[in-house]
């Protein structure tokens, strides 16, 4: 069992800060971010042989973390909407809490644009980097980034609501 512990420690030691930073930036909630990190490393653990050996582990973990957090935000958004419908937390929903702002901005986007918005606006990745991480062509990424910029007024800086 010592090997298991060492292997996990190595995952956390080498990649934990990056995964936790991403989770914090997206979820804006420390406990949720730590849970997300836990789930992401569990996914890496379970990936086993299907782990893409030819890809960079860091890129793989970025992708998994982003998708995991977007799913968390989507679920949270649904819960918030349900609560609003029940008039149970109107005050909280109307607040400017960072987590809610991020969730709302991302929720305003179609599913296929959310991860790209994160990579482009939060991570400031190049089109090439985004293309490699989501597995689409550079041209497709260019088109989708153009669409994002149109939606947010054309300036990366004007999307600070997400970042």
């Amino acid at each position: 069992m010592a090997l298991d512990r060492l292997a996990l420690e190595e995952l956390y030691r080498r990649y934990g800060a990056s995964v936790l930073r991403r989770a914090r930036a997206l979820l804006r909630d420390e406990a949720a971010a730590r849970d997300a990190m836990h789930d992401v490393f569990l996914k890496a653990w379970r990936a086993g042989d299907s782990f893409r050996r030819d890809a960079s582990p860091m890129t793989w973990l970025y992708h998994i973390t982003t998708n995991h957090c977007l799913n968390q935000l989507r679920d949270q958004q649904r819960r918030d909407e349900l609560l609003r419908e029940q008039h149970a937390c109107a005050d909280e929903a109307a607040s400017s809490d960072d987590r809610i702002v991020v969730a709302q901005v991302l929720a305003s986007l179609p599913e296929e644009l959310r991860a790209i918005a994160v990579y482009y606006f939060i991570d400031q990745m190049s089109h090439d980097e985004i293309a490699s991480i989501v597995g689409l062509s550079r041209r497709t990424i260019g088109n989708r980034v153009d669409e994002l910029r149109r939606r947010f007024g054309g300036e990366r800086e004007r999307c600070e609501a997400i970042a």
Binding site: A7, Y12, R13, L20, W45, D49, R53, P57, M58, E129
Partner: protein
């Protein structure tokens, strides 16, 4: 070149970039104080998070016991090892028997209060700091250090070393075998020369033994 992404900085810090990409980003960092500060912040962040991450790893290990866990551990680590450029190597048991596995060269700064700080690739260390290098699981290896000033020297495999006042990048390489016929120092000098004197560009010594390596920047206090 526009500023580098977080992903690129993270990949640089775990030494996951191929040499041309690493050189391109390091050129940018040399010219861009904003990105240098971002990189420095990432290093500080990783160091500050080390205790928390160790605790989270222990929590994860305790909460996910499964009969398949050992298989996952080996395969995940093997997957990571295959992709990591710097610190993972293929281990050869002998000239005729090849056993695949991995070895990592770890470095820790030993502080006066008894605590230790893990050194990440590209970390900044300071003159006078005591550093211990080790390759967990390896019983026989040689440590050789190459610095930006052209110095090549052996480091002891037991105990720790005190960093001198040299400034600049330094790479430490562990050669995992006991072959007296191999002149590790000569191989290191040749590798440093071939890399134009930049130890960051030295990925392997090219000796017929497995290697593991880490590099750091040395600065005055």
């Amino acid at each position: 070149m526009s500023c580098v992404s977080n992903l690129a900085l993270d990949r640089l810090l775990v030494d996951e970039l191929a040499l041309p990409e690493r050189a391109r980003i390091e050129r940018h960092l040399a010219a861009c104080s904003t990105c240098r500060e971002r990189k420095g912040a990432f290093v500080v962040e990783a160091r500050a998070l080390a205790p928390l991450l160790a605790a989270e790893a222990a929590r994860a290990a305790a909460s996910h016991r499964s009969p398949r866990r050992s298989v996952w551990a080996v395969s995940v680590v093997a997957g990571l090892a295959a992709a990591m450029c710097l610190v993972m190597v293929e281990r050869q048991a002998s000239d005729t028997t090849r056993v695949k596995g991995s070895a990592a060269l770890e470095a820790v700064v030993l502080r006066g209060d008894g605590s230790q700080i893990s050194v990440l690739p590209g970390d900044t260390l300071h003159a006078g700091e005591r550093v211990q290098f080790r390759v967990p699981g390896a019983s026989t290896y040689t440590l050789v250090a190459l610095d930006e000033n052209g110095a090549v020297s052996r480091y002891p495999t037991a105990g720790s070393i005190e960093l001198d006042s040299a400034i600049g990048a330094e790479r430490v390489i562990a050669v995992l075998c006991d072959r007296p016929d191999i002149d590790v120092l000569a191989a290191a000098r040749a590798a440093l020369h071939a890399a134009g004197g930049d130890p960051r560009r030295v990925e392997r010594l090219g000796v017929p033994c497995p290697e593991a390596t880490i590099w750091f920047e040395q600065r005055p206090r």
